[in-house]
Amino acid sequence: MTPRCFQIQPSDNVATLIDDAAPGLVQVLGATRGEVAALDKIDRGHKIALRDIAPGEAIVKFGVRIGRATKPIARGTWVHLHNLASDLDDRSGTLDLHSGAPTDTASAYV
C-alpha cells in the first residue's frame, strides 16, 4: 500500500505521515489531494515538505507558523529538528534528531 500523509490546511507547506514511508511515492490526504515523492525515510507522525522551502521561511502547519527553516528544504524532504527551529525555544536546535534527547546537558551525566 502507498504510504499516506495528511495536510491539515491548504496553506500548510508540510504534511504529517500517517504511515511509515521509505523514499518513494506518498499519497497526500486532507486539505489537498495528490502525491509527493519522499526523498527520505520518514516515520509515522513526522512531517514531509510539500513545497520547496527557503532558509528563514516559515514552516506552516494547521495554517499557523510553527517555526522557521534553518536550511533549504526541498519538496519531499523530512522536516524535523535538523531543518526546522522554534522561534521561542532556544534549545530546539540542540536535540538529537532521532531520539529527541537533549545534547546540551551531556556534561551533567559525567
Binding site: 507522525g45 512531517k47 522554534s86 531520539s99
Partner: protein, 405 residues
C-alpha cells in the same frame, strides 16, 4: 447534536451546593507524608473509597485549597482526614470545612489513636460508617450533559494527537458547550506561540484580558526556567517545535468562545468553555512547577469540579485518577491496539477515514454519558488512581469564592 444525546438522562448524586455527582465516594485525606501509608491501608479493599493528601509537613495555601476543592467535589459524599499529629496542615480544620459544606466528615491523629494497626482499624470502621450513611442519605436526581463539567488534557503526545485525538475532544467539547455544560482545558504553557490565535477566541473583553495575562505569564515562566512543555518523546514522535505542539494541544478546545481563565481549585462560574491556568504566580521566592507530570494537570482539572476527565495520548499511557473517572483517548490506532486494555477510545479511526472528526466527537459524547451513568472507565476498572500535589504559589480567590461551600 442528536436530540437523543441532548435528552439522555441518568441518575446522579445531589450535593448540598446543588451540584450533581456521578460517583458517591468516601475520600480519605492524609495531611502529611507520615500519615500516607496508614491512609492508603485504610482505603485498601474498600469500595467507593479514594485517597488523596499532601506530603509536606509545612502547609501551603495552594495545596490546602486544592485538597478542599477535592473534598467538596460533586463526586465526594464524605471525608475522613488522617494526620500524624505534629504537622502544620490540620485534619480537624479539613473535617470542619467539609462538614460546613453539608457532608459528613471525621478526622483523627495517628499519635492519639495508637500505632499503624490500631489506626487502620479505626479508619476502616469510620469509612464503613460514612459510606453506609451517604449511600442511605444522598438524594438521587436526574442528570444530563448540561450538569457535567468535563476537563481535558493531553500527554505523551505524538503527531496524531493534534490530527485526531485532540480534534475529537474539540468536537465533543463543542457538543457539551452547546448542551449547556462546562468544558475546561489547560496547559497554558502549551499555548505558547498562539497568542493572537487564542485571544481571537475570547468571548468578551474581560476574557481577552485574562487570556493575555495568562499567556504572558506562561511565556515568562518558560523563558525563566528555560523549559518549554515539549519532551524527547514528543520529538521522537514527530513533533519538532513547541509552537507545533501548542497548535495540536489547542485543538482540544474545539471552536466555541472561551469564557475566561480559572485558577486551580476555582470553578467555572457559568456554562461554556474555560481555560485553567496552573502556572505558578510570581512570588518573593519562586517555587512550584507547572506541568511537572500528567497527573498534576488532571488533579487541577478535577479541583475545578470536573466530574469526568479526558486524557489524550498518542504514545500511550496507563494512568488513572482519584475522585473523577478518567477516560483515555488516543489518535493513534496502533497505540490503541497495543494498549487496548488501558485505552477507552480510538480516535485514530478518523485518520484512516473510517469516521469523521464530528462523528468521533458524537461517539465520545455517548461514551461520556455511559461513564457518567456508572459504567467504569478502563482506568477505573484497572484500579488506577494516580495522585500528585505539590507546593506552589497561586493568588487564587478565597475559599468561599473558589470552592462553593
Amino acid at each position: 447534536m442528536s436530540d437523543a444525546l441532548l435528552s439522555k438522562s441518568w441518575p446522579g448524586f445531589l450535593r448540598p451546593d446543588g451540584r450533581k455527582g456521578i460517583r458517591n465516594l468516601v475520600l480519605i485525606i492524609y495531611t502529611v507524608e507520615c500519615a500516607q501509608h496508614v491512609s492508603y491501608a485504610i482505603g485498601h479493599g474498600e469500595e467507593d473509597t479514594h485517597v488523596i493528601g499532601f506530603p509536606g509537613c509545612y502547609d501551603n495555601a495552594y495545596a490546602i485549597r486544592l485538597m478542599l476543592a477535592l473534598a467538596r467535589h460533586p463526586n465526594v459524599g464524605a471525608v475522613l482526614s488522617v494526620g500524624l499529629g505534629c504537622e502544620y496542615t490540620q485534619p480537624e480544620k479539613i473535617a470542619d470545612t467539609v462538614r460546613a459544606s453539608g457532608r459528613p466528615a471525621e478526622w483523627f491523629f495517628i499519635q492519639q489513636a495508637g500505632g499503624t494497626r490500631t489506626s487502620v482499624a479505626k479508619g476502616k470502621e469510620i469509612v464503613a460508617r460514612l459510606r453506609a450513611q451517604i449511600r442511605r442519605e444522598t438524594p438521587r436526581v436526574p442528570m444530563t450533559l448540561a450538569d457535567l463539567t468535563v476537563g481535558c488534557e493531553c500527554g505523551g503526545s505524538d503527531g496524531t494527537s493534534g490530527l485526531a485525538g485532540n480534534p475529537a475532544v474539540g468536537a465533543f467539547f463543542d457538543l457539551l458547550v452547546d448542551a449547556g455544560g462546562r468544558a475546561i482545558f489547560e496547559e497554558t504553557v502549551e499555548m505558547i506561540g498562539l497568542r493572537e490565535h487564542m485571544l481571537a477566541r475570547a468571548a468578551n473583553a474581560e476574557a481577552k484580558e485574562q487570556l493575555a495575562q495568562a499567556y504572558d505569564k506562561a511565556e515568562r515562566y518558560c523563558r525563566a526556567v528555560r523549559q518549554w512543555s515539549v519532551s524527547p518523546g514528543n520529538f521522537a514522535g514527530g513533533l519538532t517545535t513547541i509552537e507545533e505542539k501548542s497548535l495540536g494541544a489547542f485543538a482540544k478546545g474545539g471552536t466555541r468562545p472561551i469564557q475566561g481563565v480559572i485558577r486551580v481549585a476555582e470553578q467555572p462560574r457559568e456554562p461554556g468553555l474555560w481555560i485553567l491556568d496552573s502556572v505558578p504566580d510570581e512570588h518573593f521566592m519562586q517555587f512550584g512547577y507547572t506541568n511537572p507530570n500528567d497527573t498534576e494537570g488532571l488533579m487541577d482539572l478535577i479541583s475545578a469540579g470536573s466530574q469526568i476527565v479526558l486524557f489524550v495520548t498518542g504514545r500511550g499511557s496507563v494512568i488513572g485518577s482519584p475522585v473523577a473517572p478518567l477516560i483515555k483517548i488516543t489518535g493513534n490506532s496502533a497505540t490503541f491496539r497495543a494498549m487496548e486494555e488501558d485505552m477507552d477510545f480510538d480516535a485514530g479511526r478518523a485518520l484512516a477515514g473510517e469516521i469523521t472528526i464530528p462523528q468521533a466527537g458524537a461517539e465520545l459524547a455517548a461514551l461520556v454519558t455511559r461513564i457518567a451513568a456508572g459504567e467504569p472507565s478502563k482506568p477505573e476498572q484497572l484500579g488506577h488512581r494516580e495522585y500528585f500535589i505539590m507546593y506552589k504559589h497561586q493568588e487564587t480567590p478565597s475559599l468561599a469564592a473558589g470552592c462553593r461551600a
